[in-house]
């Protein structure tokens, strides 16, 4: 694995939740968050962070952005243990990390350019605002007021602001929300280019269908813990989701109990009047010929493509029906209510 840009060791943060008592109405108790979380972000790679709503993705990104403090654990930045300088953990993270939060509703009469300049001054960086805005496709909106921007434009502005100061690490929380398909594709392309230039990126997204094609690694998070992490192929293998083929044909459903050898397994089958579909785990090289020799017709034979939702279900133990309402593969989620976790 490449050198680690960021390493989290046993990181814990728990939200404080209001729990009023009769004589102590301000009482708070520990709520959800992230627990004993271990994660490594290699330099110049893109890590996809996927998990159901409330899994702790936003909390984790806020911790890494230095917006909320750690309860316990260690963060290593380029190999340096930040716990050696506990007073400066948040500051060091903020200096090295660009953060694009989810769904920022930029408002006010200030122009896009003025807003960029303000954040440039906050980062003490002599930035070329126009160039950054051009990069995210906002060059025609330089002098427009923030109130006049659409949600997609606001997303682009958030992205441009996260790039101020050329951060080594970029945290993108739902960057595709509100973007049209063309803009989403161009953001995807830009993220890839940044990674090629050595920027390490963590991207949290519900846009799972498109994620597999451009992330280098994937981390599945559930109830504040990483349940699987690695390259997609590695996770597939670990979860027993590799080496699967989807087969479809016409006529009677073949008797796979007889046709499969001892290493193969029938994962699912579906049979309607004249069509059948099955999914086989680790089919042997001669399975196709055995099916045909038994007089069956094969219309379709294809290795099963990686499916992040399936991985998530497998890793979390949730059924797709349970998780289905929470993960939307085409990603157009309603605005988050502020003050709530997600």
């Amino acid at each position: 694995m490449a050198e680690a840009a960021l390493e989290l060791i046993e990181v814990t943060f728990r939200h404080k939740i209001s729990s009023p008592k009769f004589f102590k109405p301000w009482n708070k108790r520990q709520g959800p968050g992230v627990f004993s979380l271990n994660l490594t972000l290699p330099k110049g790679q893109i890590l996809g962070l996927v998990g159901p709503n409330g899994a702790g993705k936003t909390t984790l990104l806020r911790l890494l952005a230095g917006v909320i403090p750690l309860d316990s654990g260690t963060i290593k930045l380029n190999g340096d243990d930040l716990n050696q300088r506990p007073e400066a953990i948040d500051y060091l993270l903020r200096c090295n990390v660009g953060h694009m939060p989810e769904q920022v509703r930029w408002n006010g009469s200030e122009s896009v350019l003025e807003t960029m300049k303000l954040f440039g001054e906050m980062r003490e960086d002599k930035i070329n605002s126009k160039k950054l805005l051009e990069l995210v496709g906002l060059s025609s909106k330089l002098n427009d007021g923030l109130d006049t921007l659409s949600q997609g434009m606001r997303q682009r502005l958030s992205l441009a602001i996260s790039l101020i100061g050329s951060p080594e690490i970029l945290l993108l929380d739902e960057p595709f929300n509100g973007l049209d398909p063309v803009a989403a594709k161009s953001v995807e392309k830009m993220v890839k280019q940044l990674a090629e230039n050595g920027v390490s990126i963590i991207i949290s997204s519900h846009h799972v269908s498109g994620m597999a094609s451009f992330v280098d690694r994937l981390a599945l998070i559930h109830q504040g813990q990483i349940v699987a992490e690695g390259k997609i192929s590695e996770i597939e293998q670990d979860l027993g989701l590799s080496d699967r083929v989807e087969i479809a044909g016409t006529g009677e459903l073949p008797n796979f109990e007889k046709l499969l050898n001892k290493n193969s397994k029938l994962l699912s089958s579906h049979h309607s009047s004249s069509k059948w579909e099955v999914m086989i785990f680790q089919p042997d090289a001669k399975l196709m010929s055995r099916i045909l020799e038994n007089g069956h017709t094969i219309d379709f034979w294809q290795p099963k493509a990686p499916d992040i939702v399936e991985m998530l279900c497998n890793a979390t133990g949730l059924e797709i029906e349970e998780i289905g309402m929470e993960i939307n593969p085409v990603s157009m989620l309603p605005l988050r209510v502020r003050g709530e976790e997600e």
């Binding site: 806020r62 952005a65 230095g66 917006v67 909320i68 500051y91 903020r94 200096c95 990390v97 953060h99 939060p101 989810e102 769904q103 920022v104 509703r105 930029w106 408002n107 006010g108 009469s109 200030e110 003025e114 300049k117 303000l118 954040f119 001054e121 906050m122 980062r123 003490e124 958030s158 602001i161 100061g165 502020r338 003050g339």
Partner: protein
């Protein structure tokens, strides 16, 4: 400007300009004009007779009575400009972007406080200057540099206190309604209800509250006023007047002004250092 670090100045300037252009300021500026120079015009009328047979006959005295305009309109305007200073950014998600910048939160809080303070301070100071000119012109009198300086500093401080308390309330608010209620409630307490608090404490202390010019009541009121921003503001202005003595030494007045400045400032800074988006 160069005394202030560039990034603090940038935040303060942006807030100040945005507030000047806001609808709230467009609505409130005429009210400020009516209350501050308007009152100065009225109180500097040679024929004016205030309750108790008082006729203001010098500029500091006119400014002292004109300070009611600052108490009623200036502070209210300060509260209405700053009540959502933090909560608005929090709801929109902008606060999270700001907090993720390397600029220390303590500096961000200074920039925010200075921005909101300047947004109300500059117009009110402009009107206070106009009021001073009106009083000087109408009474055909002048004012000593020390007196005018004290009056300007006092006006600046009372506005700062209200702005800081509104911003502190805003850091606790989870919705706009709470921010408004806290800010306006605080203004209402110190502007209207403080007299009631004073009377209740006086009654409980056995002081005769019905009697006019009761020395004991005046003294008690003078000390209780140190617990209210408006009261401290008037104590500071009274240091420019010769014939008022409420038993509170000017050093105590300025010391309480210092406490009223430092305590909320520290509270706001501490809230900002712990705030979560």
């Amino acid at each position: 400007m160069m005394l202030i670090p560039a990034e603090i100045y940038a935040i303060a300037r942006r807030i100040c300009l945005a507030k000047w252009k806001s609808n709230r300021m467009i609505i409130m500026f005429p009210i400020l004009i009516l209350f501050i120079p308007g009152m100065a015009w009225g109180f500097s009328d040679p024929d004016v007779m205030l309750p108790g047979g008082i006729t203001p006959d010098n500029v500091p005295e006119v400014l002292f009575y004109t300070s009611l305009g600052v108490v009623f309109a200036g502070t209210m305007c300060g509260v209405l400009l700053s009540f959502d200073g933090i909560s608005r950014d929090r709801f929109s998600g902008v606060l999270e972007v700001k907090l993720s910048q390397p600029m220390p939160r303590s500096r961000q809080s200074i920039g925010i406080a200075l921005g909101y303070w300047a947004a109300i301070l500059i117009p009110v100071w402009g009107l206070w200057l106009a009021s001073t000119a009106i009083a000087m012109y109408r009474l055909d009198a002048s004012i000593e540099i020390i007196d005018i300086s004290i009056s300007f500093i006092s006006v600046g401080l009372v506005l700062l206190w209200y702005v800081l308390f509104s911003l502190i309330a805003s850091t606790y608010s989870k919705d706009q309604g709470t921010s408004v209620a806290f800010g306006v409630g605080m203004w209402f307490l110190f502007t209207f209800l403080w007299a009631l608090v004073t009377s209740m404490v006086a009654f409980a202390s056995g002081v005769e509250i019905g009697e006019v010019n009761n020395a004991e009541m005046i003294k008690l009121e003078g000390y209780l006023d140190l617990l209210s921003p408006n009261g401290v503001f008037h104590h500071l202005l009274e240091t420019t007047l010769d014939d008022i003595d409420r038993g509170v030494h000017w050093v105590i007045s300025w010391l309480s002004a210092l406490i009223w400045t430092c305590a909320p400032w520290y509270w706001f800074k501490s809230r900002m250092s712990k705030i979560k988006p």
